[in-house]
């Protein structure tokens, strides 16, 4: 089966739409751009004209929000519940405190991928249980700020894939920075996905079941320097600081990209305890530690043995 792909830069990463009917590619991309634009206008922390930013300081007593923003917040709260608060949407102020207050491309880059040191931690009260969403009425205490970035991208991939497949009747793969959702039929050979974070990391190629999703969270990407210290973007909500980077990356396959991203992000935060936690959830995934060693959970396929030439 033939397929066609378009890539473009989006949200400091790469967006990709692949369809099984090449003649539908332009229309598929147009559908995706419409959805992604809506989500950005609703939830961006980096656009002063976004709905979320315009509500700054107005949510303490509750305010009606658009259905789009309500959907994004509801998904974030579902993820917080699933992960026991490990993925918390109320870390906006903490992100600003560690310097992530504008688009990543504008932040001071980390010169090299250096050692990561956690220097001080102050326990922080969980925020997600203190916000409420009643229909489209959102209430957020003044001391909290929403950061929906962890879930909005994954939800966007799911919605783009579903909408494209439903409107055009073709199979589709949507990747937003490596968070991948599929919908409709797959190519004959299946959706073949390379799982690899940095080029120096161990790679594995897998076939993704049609209609399912896969997401990778990494402590090696979206890094920057703040006050001379390296930072990454996955925060431990207990402390409002970057999680200890036990894992270089965690990849999870699930029915939706939202679930896959929730579990992969939470696994980064949970560190070594993530293996047990993911097994208990019945999750399927692959974790790569700092030494490049791989742990898999659930039904993740074993990597083929590397080819070894006879050296006798």
């Amino acid at each position: 089966m033939t397929f066609a792909t378009k890539n473009w830069e989006l949200w400091s990463t790469t967006a990709q739409v692949t369809v099984t009917e090449p003649e539908n590619l332009d229309r598929a991309v147009a559908i995706a751009l419409g959805i992604l634009g809506d989500i950005e206008r609703a939830s961006s922390r980096f656009r002063s004209d976004s709905e979320l930013e315009s509500l700054h300081g107005k949510l303490a007593t509750g305010a009606e929000v658009t259905s789009r923003l309500a959907t994004l917040v509801r998904a974030a709260l579902d993820v917080a519940a699933l992960t026991d608060g490990t993925v918390d949407p109320t870390l906006g102020n903490d992100m600003v405190r560690i310097g992530y207050d504008r688009d990543l491309a504008s932040l001071p880059a980390e010169a090299t991928l250096g050692a990561f040191t956690i220097v001080a931690r102050t326990p922080r009260t969980a925020g997600w249980r203190r916000i409420s969403l009643d229909g489209q009425r959102l209430t957020v205490p003044n001391d909290l700020a929403l950061d929906l970035g962890a879930t909005a991208k994954a939800l966007a991939a799911d919605e783009c894939a579903r909408s494209i497949s439903a409107e055009l009747g073709c199979g589709v793969l949507v990747s937003l920075g490596g968070d991948i959702a599929t919908s409709g039929i797959a190519p004959v050979e299946g959706w073949i996905v390379l799982v690899q974070d940095l080029p120096s990391d161990p790679e594995q190629t897998v076939t993704l079941k049609a209609g399912s999703a896969i997401a990778t969270s990494s402590t090696q990407k979206r890094r920057w320097t703040n006050k001379g210290r390296p930072q990454h973007h996955i925060l431990d909500p207990r402390f409002g600081l970057p999680a200890e980077p036990v894992w270089k990356s965690v990849t999870i396959a699930a029915d939706t990209c939202l679930t896959a991203n929730a579990l992969s992000t939470a696994a980064i935060v949970r560190g070594r305890a993530a293996i047990d936690w993911l097994q208990n959830l019945g999750a399927t995934g692959r974790l790569v530690d700092q030494a490049g060693r791989i742990v898999t959970v659930g039904t993740w396929p074993a990597a083929p043995e590397p080819f070894r030439a006879d050296v006798d």
Binding site: V193, N280, A303
Partner: protein, 81 residues
């Protein structure tokens, strides 16, 4: 697996937490055992059952979310962002 299904599955699975914790700890602290769980006899158990319902056959490839990649070039890369 959606979020609510996952929550229910977690409740069902909690009784085996102690055994799993032991396996996980062994995998992390052993000198050579960090590898796939399948390599340590912990393959697809009831906890790790595929989240997509199959037809009851043993053919995991028909139900698993991911299976080994075949010869074709990848159409996408799952990477952190």
């Amino acid at each position: 697996m959606n979020i609510r299904q996952a929550g229910k599955r977690r409740v069902r699975a909690i009784t085996t937490t102690i055994g799993l914790a032991s396996i996980a700890a062994t995998a992390l602290t052993g000198a050579v055992v960090v590898g796939t769980m399948q390599n340590h006899g912990f393959a697809a158990s009831s906890l790790a059952a595929p989240s997509v319902q199959g037809d009851g056959s043993d053919d995991q490839s028909s139900t698993a979310l991911v299976s080994p990649g075949v010869g074709s070039a990848p159409q996408a890369t799952s990477t952190g962002s």
